[in-house]
Symmetry: C2
Subunit: 113 residues, 2 copies
DNA sequence: TGTATGGTTAGCAATATGGCTAAGCATGAT
DNA sequence: ATCATGCTTAGCCATATTGCTAACCATACA
């Protein structure tokens, strides 16, 4: 288990912004140029470029320049670490729920009030 | 599909910090007081309180005061929206991969160079 | 009552984030 | 060669984030 996974930091942070999630949603329909991504957001190109670099550093997309247009594509496998983390949490959290000691302690506290 | 889900903003942002994930990991072993959470992190109490409020606003934990000690507990169902989002993305992204048109277009572009 | 303990609030400092404009660079079309 | 297009860079501004200290409650305990 990673104690301090910088990968997860970058992933979660990249996904915490609605604009970036919107861009990912657009890319889910197919690769797109930078301007195409900017269009629906109403934001300026430099801003979009910044978001792009965040997404790219998180490994969520890959970009490549073709002539004077940069084309951006999803990197679907990038979500794997997050899925693993989520699965791990679900496992542990539910294990806790099964043991129920926490729940019972709360009940008892409530009762002794 | 939520275009602008503030819930997801809060969730992802809350999880993007290693200290907060560490606190969640501790809470997975059972409820804990504020000081207990602070201990392993080496951070001061006010800092921890700030992290706690981020986690609480994201719905990831619930806290309640009992005497002079505040006890913090996981809210496991809080991860559901994130799991849903992840599932949705996986579905769409993989659908894209199945169609493969993107991949083929890249190939053709590469070839025409 | 007094004192230690656990938490809280206020406020500061440094850095990061998210937006912009203005200006520049490179490529494709005329 | 010129010009439009698409992206890029530099730099500014406002706000948010993450850490801290110092001072302040409020509850338990002697």
């Amino acid at each position: 288990m990673a104690k301090h996974d910088p990968n997860l930091d970058l992933l979660f942070h990249a996904l915490s912004d609605p604009t970036r999630r919107m861009m990912l949603a657009r890319l889910a329909e197919g690769s797109a140029a930078v301007s195409e991504l900017a269009g629906p957001t109403g934001l300026r190109l430099p801003t979009i470029l910044r978001h792009l670099s965040v997404l790219e550093e998180a490994g969520l997309i890959a970009t490549q320049k073709d002539g004077r247009v940069r084309s951006c594509a999803l990197q679907p496998q990038a979500l794997a670490p997050m899925r693993d983390w989520l699965e791990e949490q679900r496992r542990v959290w539910e294990a806790r729920l099964d043991r129920l000691d926490d729940y019972v302690m709360n009940l008892m506290k409530e009762r002794n009030k």
